[in-house]
Symmetry: C2
Subunit: 229 residues, 2 copies
């Protein structure tokens, strides 16, 4: 089969956009206006243009449907879903990206959307998602949870400057666990290239003011931070 005679298919990108909202691990969903799956909640997505790279298409969806610029959003390809029949409109192969960002803004209305909002991941059991998006979400959230163990990605959920306690609350929210504050502090500050200490102190919250840190140059976490406790 040659490139000319090969079947051609629509290629889409779907985004699992994750952030922390009011301390809860949350994902952006849009409510579909038109069929199929009218009124159902779905992942933001769109078709890839003829001369557009996959990651550029993902950035465009981030900008259009979530009003998010390229800065301060981490984007990573997760997996491609292409089962025939996953979309009743025809054969659509969807390349799924996960996006992580700090304190992302409330979404605005888009063209084919009549509602868009952040959902806490823990509350997703109560809603039905369009297409195979429940499965997609599951895969992407698993990926995010496990990447926090052995990469420095947790800092992408925080503003430029943050405290160790804020960082610990990221892990606690994403993993749904409680971590020992003392042990976490030691592990986070001793992990090479994870954090850089700043001079300032955080605004006071009723206790001893915390030191401020920013993300270090490292991408991998050595040793990893384990989910065990």
């Amino acid at each position: 089969m040659s490139a000319e005679t090969a079947p051609h298919m629509a290629v889409a990108v779907d985004l699992v956009i994750l952030t922390l909202r009011e301390g809860r691990f949350s994902v952006l969903l849009i409510r579909r206006r038109s069929d199929p799956y009218g009124q159902a909640w779905a992942l933001p997505g769109g078709f890839v243009r003829a001369e557009e790279d996959l990651v550029d298409a993902a950035q465009r969806v981030l900008a259009d449907e979530a009003s998010l610029g390229e800065d301060r959003v981490y984007l990573e390809q997760v997996r491609t879903f292409g089962e025939p029949g996953r979309d009743p409109r025809g054969r659509i192969v969807s390349v799924v990206f996960m996006a992580l960002g700090a304190d992302l803004p409330d979404p605005v209305q888009g063209e084919d959307v009549d509602d868009a909002r952040w959902w806490a991941v823990d509350d997703l059991d109560s809603i039905d998602l369009a297409f195979d998006h429940a499965r997609i979400l599951e895969v992407a959230i698993d990926r995010a949870r496990s990447k926090l163990e052995y990469t420095t990605l947790a800092t992408t959920f925080l503003p430029e400057e943050f405290t160790i306690s804020q960082l610990r609350r990221v892990y606690e929210a994403v993993w749904g666990t409680r971590l020992d504050a003392g042990n976490f502090h030691r592990k986070a500050t001793r992990s090479a290239c994870f954090l850089e200490e700043l001079d300032g102190r955080a605004a006071e919250t009723g206790g001893r003011p915390a030191r401020l840190f920013r993300a270090g140059p490292g991408e991998g976490l050595n040793p990893p931070l384990l989910r065990g406790t």
Copy 2:
């Protein structure tokens, strides 16, 4: 943009088929007969059919171009490469799978292929690969190497029954390191659900006969086997 007006593209699967040949970590490449990249080495691949699932297309390529059945080959999606211009024939989005198998057979000739052979991964620096396949190979091999650390996938490189020494040589070949035989033995046999001990003994090779094991039911490795030493 609706599903009908969306641009349609050719979708391909490319396979990074990995095995151990004569103790060396090796990948199957085919030499292209026709342009583009005529005479160059490339990953086995093919276009996805109109009503075919992505993983089914990968299995079909395994059968057609590598004469490999579904049994005893582990298949996992790695990433999708879709940059415009990555293929001079037009916009082709390629979903890359990695396949791991035990002592895979010598390849047979295919339709658009005039040579196919196993290459030791360490020898790949000396050849030029077609398209963006060098980059694809790099990503897939990194994935395989790191998955050996925290999953039980190493056993997919071995026959049904094997000894601890054979398992250790898998790790040594894939990682390109030497491992302490005693420490490896202890870690492998104590990792829960990794191995199941059998009654028999291996054929003798000049020393004390080794016990035989088979792969256990576990998929994750706890604790992980680290590449450190």
